[in-house]
Symmetry: C2
Subunit: 225 residues, 2 copies
DNA sequence: TCAAAAGTGTTAATAGTACACCCATGA
DNA sequence: TCATGGGTGTACTATTAACACTTTTGA
């Protein structure tokens, strides 16, 4: 193979995953309490190195699956962090991705094996390197994306109540939403379908369960929340 | 230095610059007609390799300065493009940045030396590799950023008329804007200051020149356009 | 019987959009 | 004198925000 580039340096490239979950009315991140070097004993995002024969996006998917066992997860690239000293050991350039997962579906064994735990988004421990900056940028991007694309459903079970949906959006935006205005807007979205099923987990009276219809959305993408 | 990472591969890392300019009422990009390999003779973005002792952001600034002679330019990271075959020669992962420059200020000699030309944003030539995807993503991001942050002023001379400002935003959004509504919104922004100077370049009557006041903006950041 | 969450419409305020004519000047 | 771009205000429409009570049911 001819090469034009060999006067230039090469770098380690990693991916780091900001993994969002939603549980008991709160947004959470899945973080590692590192039982390996470097920075053993400290908290970090789940990460890993890009390999020769995989794209950077695929590396992110692989790393997410290594921790959670999940595939086909909603992920978005957050950005690349390339300061020379961001990793105090050796130079590594890292591409951050955020992922939205359903907390009922991940592989608990794998998570335990990696010594990972859910932390409430507003009570995060100190993270290594520039991981807090990555989290911050991911949160801003996610909030933004949520306002014009119905990504929230990735964080919920297939069936959910309107109260759950509202509390999810309240967690995403960190602000209270008026119940009637919220339900009015939801009812105008034909891709959020009411089922005949009733959830009795969270109230005596019971609440109708809803589901998100992907096909109806792609035909009629009116979403502003 | 101890290293934990040496089982992992390393990669060439490049930066590519989507350089926006605004001239004669039109948005343009500064593109290279490559007089070097690979892909000699084809059109591409200005790019370069990240070096050992510079951050990725600094590499982007350096590459922009190599072509334009400009420093302190507004730049934003667009994203990282890491498909395994994106560069058909050898694997290179590239971080794209967009830059907004004032077309009256760049170094014409340098640009000529690099065989670079301005192309109208809606009449771009075919670009190599994934550069068209980079341009597309940059345009979307720039439009978005322009809607809530006054970045447009980076594309204009220090003094500008309201007609120029309007035609800039029309170019950014690819749509016509009502003159009276536009001027009403501008007049509500205290950080856009009318001067007593009059521009006679573009009309017999002459138009008041305005300037952007950075300090007033940071105190009172109301901007929706 | 009562606590706790579910469900339901109307009104006021705000923001956004549409629209047409006179002005000043240099050629 | 006329062609060209500069400058101005009001009425209508659409969107968003504020707000309180009734229902159901299991403990």
């Amino acid at each position: 193979m001819r090469t034009y580039y060999n006067v230039n340096p090469k770098f380690y490239l990693s991916v780091d995953c900001i993994i969002f979950g939603f549980d008991k009315g709160e947004l959470k991140l899945l973080l590692l309490k590192r039982n390996f070097e470097p920075a053993k004993g400290k908290w970090s995002l789940m990460g890993g190195f890009v390999q020769e024969e995989e794209s950077v996006d695929d590396a992110a998917k692989r790393v997410l699956a290594e921790l959670t066992g999940l595939n086909d997860v909603f992920m978005e690239q957050v950005g690349t962090f390339g300061d020379t000293n961001r990793d105090p050991g050796e130079r590594v350039i890292s591409v951050a991705y955020y992922a939205l997962i359903n907390v009922n579906e991940y592989d608990r064994e794998l998570v335990q094996k990696h010594n990972a735990y859910w932390a409430k988004i507003d009570e995060l421990p100190t993270l290594i390197f520039d991981h807090e900056e990555m989290v911050h940028k991911a949160r801003v991007m996610m909030r933004h994306k949520a306002s014009d694309t119905p990504i929230g459903f990735n964080l919920l079970p297939e069936l959910f109540t309107l109260s759950q949906l509202q509390s999810l959006y309240e967690a995403i935006y960190s602000e209270q939403i008026d119940k009637r205005n919220f339900r009015k807007r939801i009812s105008e979205m034909d891709f959020i379908e009411k089922t005949e099923l009733i959830d009795k987990q969270n109230s005596r009276r019971g609440a109708y369960l809803y589901k998100f219809n992907d096909k109806a959305y792609s035909k009629e993408p009116k979403f502003k929340l």
